[in-house]
């Protein structure tokens, strides 16, 4: 489940269905963008079986990569086990770090949520 790959939106056609030309490293496919109304030309999105499922937050992507770059790179021989642990464990702990949980309940009724398997 889940071969989804990142591509760059090059052109959008509104119509019966919102479609876009998405470029995956030089390979272009027509993709349905109905599920990502916030995606614009120039944005990156993740695509599974011809459907864009999510916009790629580029700022977050770069921050994640920077974090990975730093792992184990600095003073790894000198750090104590606790220091390594503390550095490795520096993560946000809130249940809803991006604040998007405020949107739940607005767009989906409790009925709908229950119907698609949620137990909220």
């Amino acid at each position: 489940m889940c071969l989804a790959i990142p591509g760059k939106v090059e052109q959008i056609t509104e119509g019966d269905v919102r479609m876009g030309r998405v470029n995956f490293g030089g390979v272009v496919k027509n993709v349905c963008l109905d599920y990502v109304p916030e995606v614009c030309v120039g944005d990156y999105t993740i695509v599974h079986v011809g459907f864009a499922l999510s916009k790629i937050d580029e700022k977050t992507a770069l921050e994640t990569l920077e974090l990975f770059e730093k792992m184990g790179a600095l003073e790894e021989e000198l750090a104590t086990e606790d220091e390594v642990f503390a550095r490795a464990a520096n993560l946000p702990q809130s249940p809803c770090p991006d604040g998007s949980c405020d949107l739940i309940g607005q767009s989906l009724s409790a009925e709908d949520t229950a119907r698609i398997g949620g137990k909220k």
């Binding site: 889940c2 790959i5 995956f24 490293g25």
Partner: protein, 361 residues
């Protein structure tokens, strides 16, 4: 697509001097009579095949082609071509039919000389497309320095064939003193590939119904006898095995040689030459380039001392600019192909079962 347009425009035969009682211009497609050996069939030979393949041996139009071969051992090979679609980015069934057989002879250490070409055509197949295919074969033969000296045409009823099937058989003279074969790989041999892998298969995939995508990927279809001759000239019997990785890709070729020679093979995925777009297309469909077909690449198993020289010779040739050393033969894990991944860990590349299928998972 561009190839289709090319076929329909450039290849239309000039029907004005065809003498058939049923003017062929009224029948721009293949009919059963073309395979009948009678007037219609002769028309096809006279006005379509002969002009394209022009050479003395063919023009005798005997039941057999008569020609001379330089003294030495003879190599012979045959292959049938059934590709769909017939025209694809970078080529057609025509080039494949010629280059495929030329390459089989070349990787056996032979100098390819003469080819036969047999066609099985489906009733209704457009003559213009046949002309384009034949033109492509003529060009490929000229480039490879071989001659198509005999042939045959049969026609099957509509619905009983995929437009156009071609079989080619070829003969060539074995280079004296050369002994290459899949059983001759030795521990320590360096493995080289003449260029990027996966181009042909992904070019076909890009125009396959249900899976199409836009890209600049083109088939790498090419005759390898020239570049192989250069390698053999340079290092002779330091080449132990050669093969062109067609169906089943690099994996099939390396697995077969590992098995035949009863050795293990190790390759490094990080230095495997793959075009970015081919890699991207493989990601999109969940395919592995190592299993994807090639039609213009060769793999060489070479004695370690000669490896650098072979690499230089390959890179000096237009078809070998992206040649690379990709691995070595080992005594460990006999008959098994192992690859080092970009993670620095190892994975086995197992022989593929059947066709590689796009996946969603």
């Amino acid at each position: 697509m561009a190839e289709q347009v090319r076929a329909e425009n450039a290849g239309t035969p000039d029907f004005s001097n065809w003498s058939c009682p049923l003017p062929l211009a009224d029948y721009p497609t293949i009919v059963m009579g073309h395979g009948g050996g009678g007037k219609l069939g002769n028309e096809l030979v006279e006005h379509l095949f002969l002009p394209a393949f022009r050479n003395p041996a063919l023009e005798n139009l005997g039941d057999a082609a008569i020609f001379d071969l330089a003294p030495g051992r003879i190599a012979m090979s045959t292959d049938s071509f059934v590709v769909q679609p017939i025209f694809f980015p970078g080529g057609s069934i025509g080039e494949l039919a010629v280059n495929g057989t030329v390459n089989d002879l070349a990787v056996s250490g032979a100098d390819p000389k003469f080819l036969s070409a047999s066609f099985i055509l489906e009733e209704g197949f457009p003559l213009a497309q046949l002309a384009a295919v034949v033109r492509a074969m003529a060009d490929a033969a000229a480039t490879a320095g071989v001659r198509i000296v005999t042939g045959d045409t049969k026609v099957v009823e509509r619905g009983h064939g995929d437009g156009c099937y071609i079989n080619t058989a070829g003969v060539g003279v074995l280079r004296p003193g050369i002994d290459v074969g899949p059983h001759r790989a030795q521990v320590g041999d360096v493995i080289l590939v003449s260029g990027t892998i996966g181009d042909h298969g992904m070019a076909i995939m890009s125009v396959r119904e249900g899976l199409e995508f836009e890209s600049q990927i083109r088939s790498d279809c090419a005759a390898l006898n020239g570049i192989i001759a250069n390698v053999l000239d340079a290092v002779g019997n330091d080449v132990h095995a050669m093969r062109d990785p067609t169906r089943g890709g690099l994996s099939s070729t390396l697995n077969e040689i590992a098995s035949s020679s009863n050795v293990g093979i190790e390759i490094d995925e990080t230095i495997m030459p793959v075009r970015t777009e081919v890699q991207s297309a493989c990601e999109l469909l969940g395919l592995d380039p190592v299993y994807v077909a090639n039609e213009g690449k060769a793999v060489f198993f070479v004695a370690p001392a000669a490896a650098d020289r072979v690499l230089a010779v390959l890179r000096a040739h237009p078809l070998g600019r992206e040649a690379a050393k990709i691995g070595q033969v080992t005594a460990q894990h006999p008959k098994m192909l192992v690859a080092r991944t970009s993670m620095g860990a190892n994975r086995v590349i197992a022989p593929q079962i059947g066709e590689q299928l796009p996946r969603i998972c």
